[in-house]
Amino acid sequence: MKVCILNILIMAKIQLNGKKLELKKNHSILKLLKKYKMDSKKIAVELNGKIINRNKYKLTYVKDKDKMEIVHFIGGG
């Protein structure tokens, strides 16, 4: 039980690109991008349906139940 409460306090369950993910709280978007080795200049981020400006990656924190999409360019016609 203690562990469970502790989990709620320190972990954030989010959905990233349709996949469920657990992160430590106080994770900024920039930190998340670094974790997945993504170049912030080559992607765009949408958090709960809102596009996040690149300048705000450092100061925007991911919260519990957030839905996040990270996209990039691929081949297409």
Binding site: Y36, I51, V71, F73, I74, G75
Partner: protein, 257 residues
């Protein structure tokens, strides 16, 4: 003769051939084919990053967006909301204002949903986008798109990826004659002679993907397209001879022995 330039949106392009970057065997081939095509603008799609595979090669590592213009598309979107969301994300990614709008209506034909396309065009123009619009070859709807502020009209030659070439020349020529914005034939081009025909008819440019990517030798086909688009444009500018219902000898009868 006045220099023949191709202006679309605010951009002046050197080539009248726009190439898609999908369906190639790998990114190396994509880059080689695009180089051979001489195109200075390529279409790209917006998709989720694969977070599980950090080592997956990236298109941007093979085609530098600083050296070749990216034209983000909305392929795979079936309503105006999805298309708007995709293009707003594309703009955030690279600051691209020039985009290709493509709202599909049906998975089998990939025919455009023109009601949603018109709706999205209106909003995108208002938001400052330069919108190149994939559309049906209906002359009235093409005119409507122009009225709404589309930067270019891109009627299909035949269904996307079919390679059937121009199926309705009458409609296409009606669109060309009435438009004041560039007409770019998009979708259905099968081989480079199809591109020559489109250009000869007076189209401003052609957009080709499958016909190059699916050729046995895509790099050679890309070069063929480069030449055929130039040839088609020159045909149009030169003005072809009149068709006659009878023969007209090339050697004079006068002085015949």
């Amino acid at each position: 003769m006045k220099k023949d330039t191709f202006k679309v949106g605010n951009e002046i392009l050197k080539s009248r051939l726009i190439v898609g970057t999908g369906k190639y065997r790998n990114f190396k081939e994509t880059a080689q084919a695009i180089k051979a095509s001489g195109a200075d603008m390529v279409t790209v799609a917006v998709r989720r990053v694969n977070i599980l595979d950090k080592k997956k090669p990236l298109l941007t590592n093979f085609l530098d967006p600083k050296k070749i213009k990216y034209l983000p598309n909305t392929a795979g979107c079936f309503n105006s909301e999805e298309a708007l969301r995709t293009l707003r994300l594309a703009r955030e990614m690279g600051g691209w204002k020039m985009v290709k709008l493509e709202v599909l209506g049906d998975k089998k034909t990939l025919y455009p949903n023109m009601i949603e396309t018109l709706k999205a065009t209106k909003i995108l123009v208002k938001e400052g986008f330069k919108v190149l619009v994939y559309c049906s070859d209906d002359p009235l709807l093409a005119r409507e798109l122009e009225y709404l502020g589309a930067s270019a009209i891109m009627p299909l030659a035949s269904p996307i990826g079919s390679g059937l070439g121009i199926q309705n020349k009458i409609n296409l020529s009606l669109i060309i004659k009435s438009a004041k914005v560039p007409i770019i034939v998009d979708a259905g081009i099968g081989t480079s002679s199809d591109a020559t025909i489109a250009m000869e008819m007076g189209c401003d440019a052609v957009l080709v993907n499958s016909a190059i990517a699916k050729a046995k030798n895509s790099i050679l086909m890309a070069e063929a397209f480069k030449n055929s688009v130039i040839a088609g444009r020159q045909n149009f500018l030169a003005g072809r001879m009149q068709k006659l219902p009878f023969a007209d000898p090339s050697s004079p009868f006068k002085g015949l022995i």
